[in-house]
Each structure stands twice: as structure tokens, then as C-alpha cells.
């Protein structure tokens, strides 16, 4: 016996597995049909809800915004709000407070959210959002804008003297402490939650039910508190091991030119912003904030790039630089960084005599800064003669680009001067505040108030631009508007940059390309255009959802940045036919040459036939660091530069379960105590009288066998 014992090595895992198995046996839970799947006790009590996108905490120099379910997880009885009455009812002394409200999207208004936040009867909100087929709900007046009335008005020297976003409620920048708002994007999970509510919580006449009630627990505990300076201060305490519980927001700007920049060449910057924001950050799609602008700008780059490649466009006297700024929704991270680098002689690259570099650029090189900001929603949305407004800081002075656009005729597009006196929120502000002599022109679809009624919300989706069930086609008004805008800008740029054009030909903007770009950014990323311009290894990341355009933290590279870079390179660059594999193309990029880049793309090659697996595009497209200078300078209180950072969190999850009335458990306690008391009595008495009760054996001597 002892030998066999020695040969068995105690195996902790087998004991654990054995324990789990045997305890499941003793749960007496196996019927014939269930012989093969035994749920655990945890699974009988809790159901995990998957597919969650959460509202989480962001911090800046002075405040914290967003949601945090702390100090302990947020939980409450489920309540389904289908009508405004349901909301009033739950705010007015409901019986089983507190609650988690399942909100119908029609009721997702700033007032409702704020009322529920302030009420002690509501601890959190969940709602359904279908990422693959999002639809805009029937909101009151068709308006839901949780953005600020004057976005990015926190930095010093930024112009903000009117409510550009007239419908703005500022919900995105409010603090929701001890509150959680989750979007459930998985249809099955959401139906489970609703079913649990229907089965247990819906009382008579749609009123309140009785125990047992279905409850939910939301976990979203944010580690950073109060503000960015606080976050970094706490990192200095030894108990945190010196790691701050927040990470700065940021990513990379994408910029590129058609031709190599010459020394002391003047540049014309054509800019738009790459990121967007929303109350649930990962549901930021921003169709008119700024996908319409991105698509237009890419269409212009494509038109000019084609002219370059077919020999029509030989050179431009002034360089045309296309820039896509990232992080602009959070106090102009990308554009402020570019200005900062320009002023410190670090743009585009820090001087290194051992490398081939483009010339250093400064604000004085910029002859015009043209920005596209909100170009997708006309006042009369189905017009085929769009009107755009020019906001400029050179009022009264003559500027060639401004005058060219104002004077365009017979193309069924009109550019008007804005009636406002100041610049709207735009990346151009970062250039304007440092040097008022940099001529800035912002092209927008609005004059003094945003046309975008869903600005800053997760419903700023393609439907917000299209307004109807009409599919996208070259005859759709939106496509006609954007095509005309791109064409006007392309011809204006050629004129103003003193381009050398052969045969007096004009640029052609491809409507099909505009349609494809809108489809790729706003409908699903698994589209043929993306499949062509991305490398084969990136194709796995493409899916059936629109592109999420929140800037995220600066340690994560967003897909959107890479996709836009590849698009710009593809449109403005030249295919190098001598390189036909991905690896060879990669190798062409050398550290010592920072003038051009080689980008390998899948192309439309028939991969099975040749040994060729990539096309190699040589272009003047670059990335530029888009992290706020405040973090480089460690000035976390900065009012000059963005100090936005995202809080760390250890888990974001949700589960539903039933709760019963408290007396049930008290009853069991009383039963247990009674049982204990009785058994103590009986045992004590038995023990005392043992020798008499068991007299037969107690009085016989032991037999030793």
C-alpha cells in the first residue's frame, strides 16, 4: 500500500479537475438529455452579456469626463424604458430602487441621460446598437448632439465667440461618476437581457413586477481619477510602482505631397481631421465629422495623382501637401503637434546630416492653409447645386485661392463668404493662433451654425448624409455635391500652385471612387478598395462594420491611420514595377532616406498565378507623430496643448442574474441556526450518556484479532 502511494505524484491539476467533476456530480443535475453538458453553478446564476462598448473615463488638465462604475460595480434591477412615461416613472420613487435602465434608442436624448444620471434611482443605462446595420432612431426633432456648443474651446488663444454647434448639450464632456452606460452590440446578448426582463420584471399592465427580479451588474471601474496632473502625481507614489494609471491620447498624422519638396519651396496645406468622438468613444463614426471631408480630400489627391502619373501634371511651383490630422476632437492633438514641431525646426524630421531628408518647414513656408470641415450636409440636402462657405482669417485682404473659389461660375457650385466674424473650431486654429499671417481658409457646408444635427453622437453615420433609402450611385445628390467640391478644389489648387499642366487639361474626379471611399469608411471595411491598397497581412483585420474612428491612446496604432496612409500613397504615388514581392518592397525603405516611402499593397493581382504577391508604391507620403507636446514637456497642467488621456481599467463586463427578497435568506439562516442548536443538544446528551446508551459494547472488553 505504501509503495503504490509513493508512485503517485500529487498533481494539483488533477485534484482540481477531479473536485470540479465530482462536485458537479453531487449537484444531482444530470437528466438523460443533459448527460453531456453539465452547467456550472456560476452558469446557473449568472449570464454574461457580450459585445459591449462602454462609456469610459478620459481626463485632462482640469477635469475627468465619461463614466466610471466605482467604487464597486454598478448594479440594479432591470427596467425597460420604451416610452418617455417609463422614464418618468422610474425617476419617481420606484419600488425596487436602484435600477439599470434598458433604453430604447429613440429616448437617448441628453435630457434623459442627465436626468437618469442625477437620479439616485438609476445606476446605469444599457441600449442596443447594431454595428453592422446601424439606424438613426426617431429622436425628437431629429436632433441629438452631445458635443459641445463650441468644440475644443478649452485651449488658450482659440477663437470661440459663438455657438457653432447650436444643438450641442455637452454630454460627451460631462462627468458620470458612479454611473455606467453600455452599448450592447450583440443581438443575441441583448435579446437575452430583454427576455430576462420580460420573464421576471414586467408586472401587470407594464408596471413593476415582484421578486424574484432580473438584475444586471456592470463592471467598468476606472483607475485614473480627477485629472491628468493627478494621474501622473499618483504614479510618483511608490505603491503604484511608478506607472501612471492613464495613457495620453494620440496616434499619427498622415501627410503627403505629389512631388518632392524643394528647398525653400512654399507649400499649400490641404487639411482635414482624421478622428471623431462620441459619447461611447468606440462608436465614433462621424460621417460629417469628418468622413465626408476625408473622402473629398482623398478624391482630390486621387485626381491630381492620376494627372501626375499620366504625364499631364509635371510639377507645381508651390508644393501641395495633403494632411490628415489625428486627435483633433480632443483639443487639436495632431495639428498642435505639427505647429510645435514646425516652430522647433523638427518638421518633417529632426535635422540629421547623415540622412536624405525633406527640407525643414516652418509657418512662414505656408502660403495657404485650406481645411475641409463639415462638407457633407447641405442645408437643402438633396440639392445638386451645393453651396459652401469659406471661413478665412484674411478678411478684406486678397488671397488667390479664396478669390478663385469665390469667383467660380457655371459649374453649379457656389462658394460664399461666411457672415461670421471669427474662425469656427478647426485644425486651422492651431496655425492661426501662432501666426495670424498664415492665410487660413476653412471650407464648410454651414455658415454660422452646424447643419449636422447629430454632431458628436454615435448616430452620425452614413444615413445622416444620405437621408434616404436611395443607395449610393453617381447620380445621388451627395455624390454629385462631393464630386463638384473635389473638382473645384482640384482646379483651384492647380491654379494657385502654378502647376505646369500639359495640354491645358483639367482634373477629373472619379465619382465611383467617392462612392467606394464612403462605403469603405462608413459601411464596412471589407470592401474592394481597402483590399487593394492594404498589404496581404492586413486583410484579416477587415470586417463587416464601419471604421471606428476614435483616436485611442498613443500606444495603439489605429487601423484608420494605416488605411488612410495607404490610400494617400496609392493615389499620389507611383507603382514601381521592378519590385514584385512584399518583402522586397519592405526592404526598399531605409532609415537613411526620409524623402520617400515604399508601401507594399495587395493590388488587384491574381495571387494564385504569379510569384508576385504585392505591388510596391513609391510615394512622398509620411506619418507624423500626433502626441500632444504637453506630454513631451511633462506639462500636465498645460492650457496651450491638449492634455487628454484615457484612464486604465481592469475589466469591462456585464452580467445578468435574479435577486430574491431578503427574507428568503433570513429564513434559511434561521433554519440553519435551529438545526445547529438542536444538533448541539442531541450530541451533547448522547456524549454524556454514551456509555449507558451503548452499554452492550461499553461493558465488553475488546477482542484483539
Amino acid at each position: 500500500m505504501a509503495d503504490t502511494d509513493r508512485q503517485i505524484m500529487p498533481d494539483l491539476w488533477s485534484i482540481l479537475i477531479g473536485c470540479i467533476l465530482l462536485s458537479s456530480l453531487y449537484e444531482h443535475n444530470v437528466s438523460g438529455s443533459q448527460l453531456f453538458h453539465v452547467p456550472t453553478v456560476y452558469q446557473r446564476i449568472y449570464q454574461e452579456v457580450t459585445g459591449i462598448e462602454a462609456c469610459f473615463r478620459l481626463i485632462n488638465a482640469t477635469s475627468q469626463i465619461g463614466c466610471s462604475a466605482s467604487p464597486k460595480n454598478v448594479s440594479g434591477v432591470l427596467w425597460y424604458a420604451e416610452s418617455q412615461d417609463n422614464i418618468s416613472s422610474v425617476l419617481n420613487d420606484p419600488p425596487h430602487s436602484p435600477y439599470i435602465v434598458i433604453l430604447e434608442p429613440d429616448l437617448f436624448t441628453s435630457e434623459n441621460i442627465q436626468d437618469m444620471k442625477e437620479s439616485k434611482h438609476v445606476n446605469g443605462i444599457v441600449f442596443y446598437y447594431d454595428k453592422q446595420n446601424p439606424i438613426i432612431p426617431e429622436l425628437p426633432g431629429g436632433v441629438f448632439s452631445p458635443g459641445k456648443t463650441c468644440p475644443n474651446n478649452d485651449l488658450v488663444d482659440v477663437e470661440c465667440d459663438r455657438s457653432w454647434n447650436v444643438n450641442g448639450s455637452g454630454l460627451n464632456f460631462m462627468d458620470f461618476n458612479n454611473f455606467a452606460v453600455f452599448a450592447i452590440t450583440n443581438n443575441d446578448s441583448y435579446n437575452n437581457v430583454l427576455k430576462c426582463y420580460e420573464d421576471h420584471n414586467r408586472g401587470a399592465e407594464g408596471g413593476y413586477g415582484d421578486f424574484p427580479l432580473c438584475s444586471a451588474e456592470l463592471e467598468a471601474n476606472m483607475d485614473a481619477v480627477l485629472s491628468t496632473p493627478e494621474c501622473y502625481e499618483r504614479a510618483n507614489v511608490w505603491t503604484n510602482l511608478g506607472v501612471p494609471q492613464c495613457i495620453p491620447l494620440g496616434d499619427k498624422n498622415v501627410w503627403g505631397t505629389l512631388f518632392e519638396i524643394q528647398d525653400s519651396q512654399d507649400i499649400i496645406i490641404v487639411a482635414t481631421k482624421l478622428d471623431s468622438n462620441a459619447f461611447i468613444p468606440y462608436l465614433s463614426y462621424g460621417a460629417n465629422n469628418e468622413v465626408a471631408g476625408i473622402v473629398t480630400q482623398l478624391a482630390v489627391a486621387d485626381a491630381l495623382g492620376r494627372m501626375k502619373r499620366d504625364g499631364t501634371l509635371n510639377a507645381t511651383e508651390k508644393a501641395i501637401m495633403f494632411v490628415f490630422y489625428h486627435g483633433e476632437s480632443y483639443d487639436y492633438i495632431g495639428s498642435s503637434r505639427m505647429v510645435y514641431d514646425m516652430l522647433n525646426n523638427k518638421f518633417p524630421y529632426k535635422r540629421d546630416s547623415g540622412k536624405q531628408q525633406p527640407p525643414l518647414l516652418n509657418l512662414t513656408n505656408i502660403t495657404t492653409f485650406l481645411e475641409l470641415s463639415h462638407v457633407g450636409i447641405q442645408h437643402q440636402y438633396n440639392t445638386e447645386s451645393p453651396v459652401y462657405y469659406l471661413h478665412t482669417n484674411q478678411k478684406g485682404k486678397s488671397s488667390s485661392l479664396h478669390d478663385y473659389l469665390i469667383n467660380i461660375t457655371n459649374k453649379n457650385i457656389t462658394f460664399n463668404d461666411t457672415t461670421a466674424d471669427s474662425l469656427p473650431p478647426a485644425s486651422a486654429q492651431m496655425f492661426h493662433r501662432r501666426d495670424k499671417n498664415v492665410p487660413v481658409i476653412i471650407v464648410s457646408d454651414y455658415d454660422t451654425e452646424y447643419n449636422n444635427k447629430l454632431f458628436g453622437s454615435h448616430y452620425d453615420i452614413l444615413e445622416n448624409l444620405i437621408h434616404s433609402d436611395m443607395g449610393l450611385s453617381p447620380s445621388h445628390p451627395l455624390i454629385i455635391q462631393l464630386q463638384k467640391l473635389a473638382l473645384s478644389l482640384a482646379t483651384a489648387l492647380l491654379d494657385v500652385s502654378n502647376a505646369t499642366v500639359n495640354g491645358g487639361r483639367s482634373p477629373e474626379v472619379d465619382s465611383e471612387k467617392i462612392i467606394e471611399l464612403l462605403d469603405c469608411y462608413l459601411v464596412k471595411t471589407n470592401c474592394s478598395l481597402f483590399r487593394e491598397v492594404l498589404s496581404p497581412s492586413s486583410l484579416d483585420n477587415l470586417g463587416n462594420e464601419p471604421l471606428s474612428r476614435y483616436v485611442t491612446v498613443n500606444t495603439i496604432a489605429n487601423f484608420e491611420t494605416q488605411y488612410t496612409f495607404n490610400l494617400l500613397a496609392n493615389f499620389t504615388g507611383v507603382v514601381d514595377d521592378t519590385i514584385d514581392t512584399c518583402k522586397k518592397c519592405e526592404k526598399e525603405n531605409s532609415d537613411s532616406n526620409q524623402v520617400y516611402t515604399f508601401t507594399h499593397m495587395s493590388g488587384d493581382i491574381n495571387h494564385s498565378s504569379d510569384s508576385k504577391d504585392c505591388i510596391c508604391v513609391k510615394s512622398f507620403t509620411h506619418y507624423h507623430e500626433a502626441t500632444s507636446p504637453a506630454f513631451d514637456m511633462k506639462d500636465y497642467n498645460s492650457k496651450e496643448y491638449s492634455t487628454w488621456a484615457e484612464s486604465n481599467w481592469s475589466g469591462i463586463s456585464m452580467r445578468i442574474y435574479l435577486v430574491t427578497f431578503p427574507l428568503f435568506e433570513v429564513a434559511i439562516l434561521l433554519f440553519g441556526l435551529t438545526l445547529f442548536t438542536i444538533s448541539v443538544f442531541v450530541t451533547w446528551q448522547c456524549n454524556r450518556k454514551g456509555r449507558q446508551i451503548f452499554a452492550v459494547t461499553a461493558n465488553s472488553p475488546a477482542v484483539h484479532t
Binding site: 473536485c19 470540479i20 465530482l22 446557473r44 424574484p212 442574474y657 440553519g672
Partner: protein, 245 residues
């Protein structure tokens, strides 16, 4: 009114009371004062864990049958009884020493030791089978989110199940030791057969109606407890001493 959350830690404690109240009382009042009996009891617990270890190893080796509790259960019963037998052999070897330490030369000592061994076996079996259920029950939720598949009394019936298994193990201990001591083949066969039968019965239940298992187990308990008392030396006429001062 967030009483529910805090109450559920109390709920965990309450369920533990239901399952472990009787054996805890038994331990503190009849075993704890005698150190040698405590040691014997813990040794019993160890032998039960040994059986669990061997079952686990078999379960890992025989991969295709991992998802069939119907296979593992008979093996587990057989191994428990085997380890109970090994335990008996070990205790018998230490019999002379136990006699000296306990200062008791009567036959009752053998039965007391058997009872203590059964208590050890039973307690560890009860802890292993029920402890994780208690741990989950201390959370805010109660059983029932899956609808009609689970009864709200799931945890409570698990508690009773653990309790009855512990008490049955005490009876099995007494009967098994006496059977092997006196070569009483009726008792030697009775213990594993009744164990196998009652465990098999648990397989045929679903969680919504554990009534079959619990009823049968308690009836078996009454029968075996009577038999154990008789074996240990109690007779109908000596029972009256329980009610005296």
C-alpha cells in the same frame, strides 16, 4: 434598498450552516477533546482525498469518457470504498496504540474510532462537493436566470445533499469497520452497494427535482443509522437513557 447584496454573504453562511451544522456539532462535542481521535479523523479525510486523486488521474487518462459522468461515478464509488478499506487496515494496525492513548479497553472504542473515521471521510466529501456552490452563492444573484431549467431551491437542495452524504458516510464508516473486524459479509457488501445505489440515483435527477435523490438518501440514512446504532451497542431499552438527566 440594497439589502440584497449584503445579505448574500449571509446567505452563503446560512447554506453552510444547513450543510455542516450537524457534523460541526458532532466534531466539537465528541471528537475535538481527544487529540488521537482528531488525528484519526484527519487521516480519514486524507484517504478520501486519495481516492479523489486516483479518480482524477483516471479521468485525465481516459480522454474520450471525460464528458460522461455516468462512467466516472461508479469508478469514484469503487475507489472511495477501496480507500476506506485501506484506511481500515491502517487504523487496525494502530489499534494497540489507540487503546493505550484512549485509556479505553472496551469494544466501544472500536466503534468510536469507526465513527470518527466516517466523520472524517464525510466531512471532506461534503466540503469538496459543496464549497464551490457556497462560494458562488455568496454573490448577489440567486439561481434562476436560465428560467425553468433550474429551481430556486438549487443551492438549498445541494446543501441538504451535502449534509446527507456526510451523515451517510458516518454510518458507512461504522458498518464497514465492524464488518471487516468481525468478517460480517452482510455489512461488507451492504456499504458499497448502498453507496453505489444512492450515487447512481443522483445521476438520474435533473436539478429541478432533486426530491428523488433526497428522499431516498434520507430513508437510507434512517435505515443505516438505526443499523449503526445497533452495531455500536445501542438497544431499544438503552435508548431511554438519552432522556434522563
Amino acid at each position: 434598498s440594497y439589502i440584497s447584496t449584503k445579505m448574500t454573504v449571509l446567505a452563503g453562511f446560512s447554506y453552510s450552516l444547513v450543510a455542516y451544522a450537524i457534523p460541526t456539532a458532532l466534531f466539537f462535542l465528541t471528537v475535538a477533546r481527544q487529540p488521537h481521535e482528531v488525528i484519526v479523523m484527519i487521516l480519514g479525510a486524507f484517504f478520501w482525498l486519495l481516492s479523489l486523486l486516483i479518480v482524477a488521474i483516471i479521468w485525465i487518462i481516459v480522454v474520450p469518457l471525460r464528458s460522461t459522468p455516468a462512467f466516472t461515478l461508479p469508478i469514484s464509488v469503487i475507489l472511495q470504498e477501496l480507500c476506506r478499506w485501506l484506511y481500515f487496515r491502517l487504523v487496525k494496525k494502530g489499534d494497540k496504540l489507540l487503546e493505550v492513548v484512549s485509556d479505553d479497553t472496551s469494544q466501544l472504542r472500536h466503534h468510536k474510532i469507526a465513527y470518527v473515521g466516517g466523520l472524517g471521510f464525510g466531512l471532506i466529501a461534503g466540503i469538496v462537493s459543496f464549497a464551490n456552490v457556497v462560494e458562488v452563492a455568496t454573490g448577489p444573484g440567486v439561481v434562476g436566470v436560465r428560467g425553468s431549467e433550474d429551481s430556486q431551491y438549487f443551492v438549498l437542495s445541494s446543501a441538504f445533499g451535502a449534509q446527507v452524504i456526510i451523515l451517510l458516510n458516518i454510518c458507512w464508516g461504522v458498518l464497514w469497520f465492524d464488518g471487516w473486524e468481525k468478517r460480517n459479509w452482510i455489512l461488507i457488501v451492504l456499504v458499497p452497494v448502498s453507496h453505489m445505489l444512492i450515487s447512481g440515483l443522483s445521476l438520474l435527477n435533473n436539478s429541478y427535482c432533486p426530491a428523488y435523490f433526497l428522499t431516498a438518501a434520507y430513508i437510507l440514512l434512517i435505515i443505516l443509522a438505526t443499523l449503526s446504532l445497533f452495531t455500536a451497542g445501542a438497544r431499544p431499552k438503552t435508548l431511554k437513557y438519552f432522556f434522563t438527566f
